[in-house]
Subunit: 225 residues, 2 copies
DNA sequence: GTGCGGTTGTGAACGATTTCACATATGCGC
DNA sequence: GCGCATATGTGAAATCGTTCACAACCGCAC
């Protein structure tokens, strides 16, 4: 399969291109230029071309890219041609929402089990799936051949749950808990932190306010740029 | 305030450091070395030192950083010493979960209003807050002085909602909808895409599987690394 | 088959970020 | 005070990512 490694930054954008391409296909588009795809993906065309060139030369000079073919190639590259069973640990607000999220199924991800440490929740059904005890993880992973786990617990127990997942044989973890967790080298780990994103926005928001102050001569400290 | 601009990558890590530091403070720690903070944040110590050096020289050579002081400085830099009212548009699974999420309040973010286009939902209360009609956005933004909006709608209407937010005076948008949205230059925009993260994990997962195949001589194509 | 407008693919320049490595500074014991 | 162990702050090097700019190529018209 992969000859030269695809840069991380590119991997992060492929799903975005894919989504744009699928929409175009649904709207009946059959070829697309890097320029058009770039606009639909919120990046610039040089980046699109570089990114796509890492997959191979699937475009046609003077014409553009065949939408259907490109969709196929990106899907293949991302591994979306196969079925990915996932398990969610921690069925609080967020776990609940993720268990019901439609966007996963459309892309080949299927939530096959829900785990929660709270005995009161065990047995309860969410979106048709029963919540199970943590002890069942190894069995679940084995039976459904689960490779990916999502941690949606409170931060305090995130590491513990992740350890259990790794022990049960899970290979990739997506961490939604507000905590840093560590896993062995051979396990992939990514995180989504809702409040971090807000804090980043707050930073830039504050900076904008500070700049406005300067413009209007309201600055307390600071020399102008 | 800011003399030299702080690199984006650094801004993205400050909230992580902050969380680690707050935990340390709660556990009674009073000074911390870049090495320890790095471990708690999942990065390396050189990065921590470079990052913190952008805020100023708040450490003491031979000793480390004063936890409480550093917390204060990072908070100030991120703008977390002030109160940030936020509004959520789209009260589906995810919007619901976010409206109930406790992690925001702890960091100075307060959800002050919920918006939904569905007339059937309007009036319903979530976490004590009534769901309101989109038409109320300008009033809400004005009355609560809202600067930040979160878009949790389906992808198809995300752009429309974002436009409404911008029109109403919102300055920063956090987009959870699976769609690319564009905003004027003076509005900040960040996105969180749940299924993109899964797709990235799938990519690396697939690559691991391919590598294992090679090791075991099961590869179809491909020369060894 | 020649010319032409359009678009890719990609070296090379540029910019941002990470890492290295060490001079510089501190606290402490004596 | 002096020396030692420790840890920061930061130039410089290395790496990674983006953008530029253009040669190579395609499809089409004539």
């Amino acid at each position: 399969m992969s000859k030269r490694p695809i840069p991380e930054a590119t991997v992060g954008r492929l799903p975005v291109y894919l989504r744009a391409l699928v929409e175009m296909a649904e709207d009946g588009g059959s070829v697309v230029s890097s320029e058009t795809l770039a606009d639909a993906s919120g990046v610039n065309s040089a980046k699109v071309r570089k990114d796509l060139s890492h997959l191979g030369s699937y475009g046609t000079r003077g014409v553009g890219y065949d939408v259907a073919y490109l969709i196929h190639q990106i899907r293949r590259e991302l591994g979306l041609t196969q079925h990915w069973p996932v398990v969610i640990a921690g069925v609080g607000n967020l776990g609940h929402a993720l268990a019901n999220y439609k966007g996963f199924g459309e892309r080949g991800f299927e939530v096959v089990a829900l785990i929660d440490a709270d005995p009161k929740k065990v047995g309860e059904k969410v979106n048709g799936l029963p919540i199970e005890a943590v002890e069942n993880l190894p069995r679940i992973v084995r039976e459904h051949d689960v490779a990916i786990g999502m941690v949606c617990t409170p931060g305090q127990v995130a590491q513990e749950v992740a350890d259990r997942m790794v022990e049960a044989g899970i290979q990739s973890i997506l961490n939604f808990a507000p905590a840093v967790i560590t896993v062995p080298d051979d396990v992939s780990l990514r995180k989504v932190d809702l409040s971090i994103e807000l804090q980043i926005l707050a930073f830039y928001e504050q900076r904008k306010a500070a700049l406005d102050d300067v413009k209007q001569g309201r600055a307390k400290t600071m020399a102008v740029v």
